[in-house]
Symmetry: C2
Subunit: 201 residues, 2 copies
């Protein structure tokens, strides 16, 4: 949480909206709710954001910035990392997902409604899939994973990325919620997947 | 498509709503849109359904009925089926998902909004996860999959179910849409997963 005085109104709107979206879903939250929650007038909110869609885009920009910061070191080390890098990547993304819970929860609908957001997310998608593919290629080259057939390294990357992307949604619809136990179960799942393709079995 | 004269108004409302929900998402479709799309009065629609939520529940009941019909033979054969049963189950669920596209797309939000729907889905979740677990236990017992450690058969079942559940969402957010190529890529993914745990590697 960021103290009121230290931050600009724009940031307070984004954080207030994020908390409400996470709790209730974007469909149940109006710009008036957001303004009331952080104690500003609707007019002041409209000075910063045209509408709710605009606020969602603002949160996405925040996600991109925070993700770049956290992912930088992982991406830089990818080619030479071992199997534990998969678990670390998964853990990092799940903690990130927890902060921006509504985004993955509503992802297909959000992208369907907003072409600009869709293009922005798909750039992130390609970048993250590329990073996971680099982790896999590095693990095969280093002998930690066994060699796979043509196309299978890409499929394994997609499978890992998809599990990472939708794990919080799976926990939610299964009724297990967003708990530390759920996070650890997801990590055990990724570990099992990686072990299935580990060399020397 | 069902011809107009052959079916009851209630069924026409459900099929009309399903088409609109799939195309636009539930948030962008009102009961008035649905009534207009099938050429009945709003009053006639309200005679059958109280509101949009009630229509979503009606579609879910339809899903349950169609799923039971399609899944019956798979469930009955589960204990003795080979590895190709995983691909068949995946294929069946993806074709089912295509017909009821909006439901998986909006799943976490739909369940968050409606406790009755949540309980209904979670019963389906437990049942399907149990079926996939039975497929895996059968494949291990029959020697097609190698024995796994304590808890890993359940994790593998969850991983398979999660991939099956969210594959159409993954294709959609990746920008690949709901195509036959996407379906085949999903089947290749499940095949790769199963091969990772096949006996004799």
């Amino acid at each position: 949480m960021i103290a009121k005085g230290q931050t600009k109104t724009r940031d307070r709107i984004l954080e207030g909206a994020l908390a409400l979206f996470n709790e209730k879903g974007t469909g149940a939250v109006t710009t008036n709710h957001i303004a009331a929650a952080i104690g500003i007038s609707p007019g002041n909110l409209y000075y910063h954001f045209r509408n709710r869609e605009d606020i969602v885009r603002g949160i996405f920009a925040l996600m991109e910035a925070e993700s770049r910061e956290g992912f930088g070191p992982i991406a830089a080390g990818a080619p030479s990392m071992g199997l534990e890098a998969f678990e670390e990547t998964f853990r990092f993304i799940q903690l990130f997902n927890r902060r921006f819970r509504f985004f993955k929860r509503e992802l297909p609908t959000l992208l369907m409604r907003d072409r600009e957001l869709k293009e922005g997310f798909q750039a992130v998608h390609r970048e993250t899939l590329g990073l996971i593919r680099a982790l896999i290629d590095g693990a095969v080259a280093g002998g930690a994973l066994r060699p796979l057939e043509e196309g299978e390294q890409q499929l394994l990357a997609e499978m890992s990325w998809m599990l990472t992307l939708f794990w919080p949604n799976y926990l939610e619809v299964a009724g297990d919620g967003d708990t530390d136990e759920g996070l650890e179960r997801g990590i055990a799942m990724i570990r099992l997947l990686v072990r299935g393709f580990a060399a020397g079995r």
